[in-house]
Subunit: 364 residues, 4 copies
C-alpha cells in the first residue's frame, strides 16, 4: 500500500486537494463486464455532498462525477461497462471561495494536521486543509460505488449510531429510516434529540463527535486470510484512513473484552441451504480474519472537528505563540457525512478480498 | 500487503503453523548497521512465551530464536550487525503434544476459524489451529525486537488496562510495575483483583477478554501521511491483525466521539527545544495521519478465547449438528500475552514509516 | 506492482484509452519541494507527439498536459512546487477521428493485442487499440519529466541506434545531433540512410523495427539491491512495459555472452574525487544490481508495428477466417517515438530507487 | 515488489547468504490443494547444484531442501498438499570452506558487486559474495518447482543456446538431449564443441558468457495485462534479477528490430479446438503483454563471471590501487547452471499471472 493507494487487486488511487482545480481517483483492477451509470455513482456522492442540511457545512459543491476511462459507453448513452482497464473519475472543485488565508497560512490550528504536515513536508497547501481535507473522501465514495458492483448481491449500508453523549436505541433500528433524516440515524425516535443537540452545538460555534456503524450483507464466506490479510484488518485500516476517525471495531469490538468465552462464541446450527446459521453475531461476520457468511459489522468513532469558533492556544510557523479561531464554513458534526464514506471503504475492502480470494483459491 | 507480509520498506513475512516443525519470519529492508544480539530478541520472546504463570497456557515452548541470515557476527560472538539483507529468524516447535485429533479435525469450534478456514481453502491443518494459532505471533515479536532498533531512541511499551469487567486505575500507572506481575498491569493495586478474577475464570474452564494499551515515545514528528499511509491507519491494521483483536483505538479513541471540539483539540505552546509542547494528548500523538512528536498511544480489545470447557452448539464438516467442548491447554485470558505482541506490531509500524518518510522526504 | 502502476516509492499510475476523452497519470510519492513548470513537461511530450514529421503518424494531437494537484503554484504563475502529495496530470484526446470501426471491431489484427485482449477480458475497446494504444505512453513521458528532477544532477538521454538493417556508427555519436533530425539518431551521417530507408517502407505501407539506447548520467552509486530490487531488473521491467518492445539489454547486453571474464570486467582506478574511475563500462553502470556511479546504459528493441497495408491472414471474434489490412494513420517506425518514452521510464526507475535507497539506508 | 520478494499473488521471498548457516525462501499465496514431494523439488535443485561435472564449480553442496510449513503431509509420508499458507523451505550451507578472506574482504573485485555493495550499505558480508552469491538462486529453483504445479499442464523447459562465440544449430533442437550433457544444450552436435571450448577456458583460469532459452508450453491465453503487468515485462524482470544476466528477449527479441511488419506479425488460422493457430511465433507467445496460447519463448544473456585467475586492476576499501586475482572454486561458464534458474523464474512469473488473471477476471 503506497501513500495514496489502497487495495491489492481492486486498487484505488486518489488525488487532489480541497482548493485545487479538481480531485479524483483511478480505480484499477475492476473486473471487466461490470455495468453502471454515472447517475448511480452520483447518488452516493450526493449523500456525502455538503450543504444538504443546516447540519453540514454550507460550502456548495455539486460534486459532479465524470468517468474518463475504463468503460465502454453503451448505446443507451448512459450505461457503462467496465473493460478491466483503469477507471479514472474526476470531480471539479467549484466553490473555492477566494479569501485571505494570511494568518491561517502560518498558524497551526490545534487538532488539525497543520503542524504535522509542515514538519513532514516543509511545504503545505494551507487552503482548506489541502490534501488533508475531507473533500478527498468524495473520490472514495465514487470508487465505492463501483466496488459495490464487484461482489454479486453485496449490500453495504451505514448509519450513525451515536452523536456526542446521545446514542440511538438499537431496538428501533430501521434501515428505511436512515435516508429520512439529516443524521443518517436508523432510529426515528432519535431524530429530535440529535436535532436539538446539534443545533445547540452549531449555534455555539462548537463541534461534536459521532459513531458510525456499517453493515455488509451477502458477503461470501471465505474472504480474508488467517494472518496479515485478515478481512477485519483491512476494514480497520480502510476506516481508520478516513479523516478524523480515532477508533474502529468489528462485531462486539471493545465490548468483547468484557465478555466470557461462553458469551462471545457464536454458536452454529445447520441451515436448510447447506450453509451454517450463526445463532448470534458477536464476531461481526469474521472469524480468524475470514468472513463467515454472517453480516460483516464494523463501527468507527469520528472525533469532533477542531474547526471551532472558540479561540485556542497554539503556535505558528515562526514558533510564536498565537490564539487560533477557525472561521469559515464547517460541519458541526463531521461524523454525519462519514456514513457514505464508511460504506464506500467497507465495500472497497470486500471487493478487493473477493478478487484476492478468487485469485488464490479459485473457489468463487 | 500480501497475505503473510506486512510493511512497505521495513517488511516482515512470517510463516509456520502451531504444530509444524518450526515457525519464523524474514525481516526485509532493515537498514544496515543495526546492532543487536539474539539474547535481546529472546528477552521479548520470553515475555510472550507460554507457561510463565498459571494464568497462561501450560504448553511448554522454549521459543528459542535463531538468526540465520542478514547479519555479520562480531568478534565477541554475540553481537550481530545487520547488513541490509533479509534477516531470517526461526523458532522451533518442541511441545507439539501428540494426540488424537479425531473429532476436532472435523468439528467447527464456535468462535474459532475452523469453519471459515475450511470454506476458504478446502483443506485445513487442524492441529492446534494451524496458521491461525497464536504461536504465529512469536515471529512478530522477534521482528519487533529489531524494529525497535531502527528508530533512534524509540521506546515502545505496553500494558494491560482492563480484563473483563475490571479496569486499572490510571492514576496509579507505573511502567516499572508492568513486569512485576503476571498480568502486565501497570497498576499494582489491580493485581490482586485480576488474580482472583482470573483464578475463578480459569477454574470454571472459561475465558475472558482484555484491553491492552501501547505507548510509543520518541517517535519523530512527521511520520505517516495525510491519506492512505496514515500512521494511525497502519497501527490499526497491524494491531487488528493480531489474533482475537476486535477493536483498535488511537488516543481518546471511541471516547472522542463524545467530546466537543474544544475538549478534543490539543492546544500547543512553544517548547524550549524549538519543538511544540502539546498541552494534552487526546490525539494520541497523531494529527491528520502524521506523528506530532507527542507519545503515540494505541489501545486494542482482545476477545476471550473460544477454547472453553462448556459445550457449545456447532456443526461439523459433514454438516452434522454437534456439541463442541475444547479440552487441552489454553490461556484463560489471551489478552495478557498480547502485550508484547502489541508492542512489537506498533514498533514495526513506526519503523516502516520512519524509513518511508526518510525515503520520500529525506527530512530525517 | 499492480496492473497499471509502476514504482515503489516514486509511483506512477496511468489511465486512459486512445479514443476516450482523455488520458493521464497520478505521480505519487514525489518528494516535496521539487520545482517545475508545465512547459518543461510539455517539452518532453512534444518530442513524443505524433505528426512531427512525415515519418510518424499523421494523427494530430496537441498532447497538452495539465497539472491538477500536488503542487503549489508560485507567484510567477508558472512555477509549480511539489507538495509531496499526488500529482495528477491529464492530456485530452482531441483528434479521435470518428469512423466506422465495423470490421476492426471484430477482426483480430495479426501481431496486435486484439485477440489476447478479447480472451482476457471478454470485452474490448477496439477504437484505436484502447488501452493497448501507444497513446498511453504520453502519460509516462509526463511522469518522467518529474522523475528527472528527483535525483539531483541526473541527466537521462536517449537515441535511436538502429532501424531495421541499418545501424549508426557509434564513433560519430553526438548527443547534440539527436534533436536535429526526425529519427533521434546521434549520428549525423546516418540521417540520410534512415530517411531513404524509411521513405521506402512508408510508401510501401510497411513498417520496420528499431533499437533505442538510453544513457543516464550522474546516477549516484548505491542505487538498487543485490537481489529482487536490482536497478537493472527494474529498468528492464520498465522498458519492456513499453508497447512493442521485445528485448532489453544493460551495458554490453547480449554481446557480453560472447566475452571472456578478462574482457568483460571493468577495471577500476582511484579518481581524484575519492570515487573510483571505471576504465571501461561493459557493465552499463550496474554491478550486482547496484549502480556503480558510471553511466547507466540500457538498450531496447522495438518491433515493427503490425498496422500495415498488406493483407494478412487472421480470424475474427466469430472464429471466421479473414484477411486483415490495417488502414489508417500509423507510424512506419514506432521505434522513433519510443526514444523519449524510454528516457522517461529509465528516469522513473532511477528516481524510485533513489528514494528507496535513501529510505532503507539514509546514505544519500 | 520489495527488495527480496517477487510476485504479486504467487509471492516468493528469499533469504540467506553464501556462507551463512542456510538459505531459503517463503512461498506465499500458493493455492491450496497443490500436491508435491520434497523429491520433486530436489530434482530441480540437483540440476542447479554445483559439482555435477568438471565444468561447474567444485564446491560440494548437497543442496538438500526441507519444507517447514504450509503443507499437510499425507499418510504415504512423502506427499505434501499445500494448505494455502506460506511454504517455508530451507537449504543448509555445508561446504563453507573456512579460509583467510583477508585481502578479499577489503579489495573490490572488478566486475563484482563488491564496490557497489560497500557504497550502498557501508557493510558487506564478503564471504563468498554474501547475498550477491549465486547460491541464492537455489531458493528460486525450489520456489519454481512449486510454481510449475500451479498452472495445470504447464511445461517449462530451458536450454543453453550459445556459449561464447559458439551457438547451437536450432535445426537439431531436441529437448530430450538437454539432460544428456553437462551443458544443457539441446543440440547433440554442439556438445563436443562446447566441451573443447570450455576446457580451454577453464584451464586458462578464464570464464565465458552464455545465452539461455526458456520455453513455456500450455500457458493459457489471457495472462498478463496491456500496460504495467505485461507478462513479458514480468518475465524480463524476473530473468534480469538472476545474477550476471545482462539482456533479456521475448520471441524474436532484438532480431525483431530488423524485421518488417509483414515478416513479424504472426498470422492466425482457426484451429479445430476452437482456439486460433498461430502460423509463426515471432511474438514468443505474448501479444500486447498478454499470452496468446502459443509457447512463451524467452532468452537471456549471462555474462562471464569476473572470478578469474588473471590479475586485474582495481582499488580497495581504503582507496588504494591493487591488482586482484580471484582464487577459489568458480564456474568457468556460470550460464550453464542458469538453465534451471531461468526455468524457475519463468514458471514463477506465469504462476503469479495465472492467479492474478483469475482474481481480476474469474475467466479461468
Amino acid at each position: 500500500m503506497s501513500h495514496n493507494t489502497f487495495g491489492h487487486l481492486f486498487r484505488v488511487t486518489t488525488w487532489g486537494e480541497s482548493h485545487g482545480i479538481a480531485l479524483g481517483c483511478v480505480v484499477d483492477g475492476c473486473p471487466p463486464g461490470i455495468s453502471f451509470t454515472e447517475a448511480e455513482i452520483q447518488a452516493y456522492l450526493d449523500k456525502r455532498k455538503p450543504g444538504q442540511s443546516k447540519y453540514t457545512t454550507q460550502r456548495r459543491e455539486p460534486d459532479q462525477v465524470k468517468v474518463f476511462s475504463g468503460v465502454m459507453l453503451q448505446d443507451d448513452g448512459v450505461t457503462m461497462i467496465s473493460t478491466g482497464t483503469p477507471i479514472s473519475m474526476m470531480i471539479e472543485n467549484t466553490d473555492q471561495r477566494s479569501k485571505d488565508y494570511g494568518d491561517i497560512a502560518r498558524q497551526y490550528r490545534p487538532g488539525h494536521a497543520d503542524y504535522t504536515y509542515d514538519v513532514k513536508y516543509g511545504i503545505r497547501d494551507y487552503r482548506g486543509g489541502g490534501r488533508s481535507s475531507a473533500r478527498e473522501t468524495a473520490a472514495r465514495v465514487a470508487a465505492g460505488a463501483i466496488a459495490r458492483k464487484v461482489v454479486p448481491g453485496l449490500v453495504v449500508r451505514g448509519a450513525l449510531v451515536a452523536m456526542g453523549i446521545h446514542s440511538i436505541d438499537r431496538a428501533r433500528w430501521d434501515w428505511a429510516e436512515v435516508d429520512n433524516n439529516p443524521f443518517f440515524t436508523p432510529d426515528a425516535g432519535s431524530v429530535e434529540t440529535f436535532a436539538a443537540y446539534l443545533d445547540g452545538i452549531r449555534k455555539a460555534g462548537s463541534s461534536i463527535g459521532a459513531v458510525i456503524e456499517v453493515v455488509a450483507e451477502n458477503v461470501p464466506a471465505g474472504l480474508g486470510a488467517p494472518v496479515y490479510a485478515k478481512l477485519d484488518q483491512d476494514i480497520a485500516s480502510y476506516l481508520m484512513s478516513i479523516n478524523a476517525v480515532k477508533g474502529v471495531e468489528i462485531g462486539d469490538g471493545f465490548e468483547s473484552a468484557r465478555l466470557s468465552g461462553e458469551e462471545n462464541a457464536d454458536e452454529m446450527r445447520m441451515g436448510n441451504d447447506g450453509k451454517p446459521i450463526f445463532l448470534s453475531n458477536h464476531a461481526g461476520g469474521i472469524l480468524g480474519g475470514i468472513s463467515s457468511g454472517a453480516p460483516v459489522v464494523a463501527r468507527f468513532a469520528v472525533k469532533p472537528t477542531s474547526s471551532i469558533l472558540t479561540p485556542r492556544r497554539s503556535i505558528d510557523a515562526d514558533g510564536q505563540q498565537v490564539d487560533v479561531m477557525t472561521k469559515g464554513r464547517h460541519d458541526p458534526c463531521v461524523g454525519i457525512r462519514a456514513v457514505p464514506i464508511g460504506e464506500a471503504m467497507v465495500a472497497c475492502a470486500i471487493a478487493d478480498h473477493y478478487l484476492r480470494h478468487r485469485g488464490q483459491t479459485g473457489r468463487i
